[in-house]
Symmetry: C2
Subunit: 130 residues, 2 copies
């Protein structure tokens, strides 16, 4: 799994992507997880694609840690992945073989996101009432 | 709960914030939930603050639907809320009374976010294997 972050001059986006990659790795052993950044931070998406070519994987799933669709999701990241615009599946060339590449959706509206917002609200209220 | 979105020229951010507000409302009756946008979309944060002044609430919790901290979270939104920089709690003037205002954290790194990324990965892989 390539977990793609936007990248930022401030440290917070990089921190979020790297910590989330670690949390995913703690939850499951199903993936080799590498965080990669679209811009401003390293390792870049391109660098991590190269790193994946040296792994023995049977599929590459690219998960963008972005809130929602937009130019980055619809255009910039597919370009980095070599996917034609609008395509969600392609192939990824490893050392001597081709494996499927799938491009997942960004966060989007999801009951888990609603739950997370409720949790953040409760945490803030709990701080107020010691 | 004021659920704050960034706002965007494209429709996706507005859609995300409004749908998430609905999903939160479906999960709990504890809050009156209004989505408000920092820029580019309406209703604005300011408009929704005015709308909350006409509600009979005992607290206002402001939850930013942003990925991580940054200038918007640390500076722009606190300004809109009348919070001094770095403060997480203030007061909100309703019609004739003052109630606490609390400012929650953005999404941040959280096991729920890791779970959501895994779900998006699985969904993308499932599309590949019909």
């Amino acid at each position: 799994m390539l977990l793609v972050g936007h990248g930022s001059k401030l440290p917070y986006n990089k921190e979020l992507i790297e910590t989330t990659a670690r949390l995913i790795a703690e939850k499951t052993g199903d993936y080799i997880i590498k965080p990669g950044f679209m811009s401003l931070n390293t390792p870049t998406v391109e660098e991590q694609l190269e790193a994946f070519r040296r792994e023995d994987i049977e599929m590459l799933v690219v998960v963008p840690l972005f809130l929602a669709k937009g130019v980055h999701i619809n255009q910039d990241i597919p370009e980095l992945l070599g996917l034609p615009k609008g395509e969600r599946c392609g192939t990824f060339q490893l050392n001597g073989k081709a494996v499927p590449l799938v491009y997942a959706n960004p966060i989007g509206s999801d009951p888990l996101l609603a739950e997370l917002m409720l949790k953040n609200a409760s945490d803030a209220i709990a701080e107020l009432k010691p």
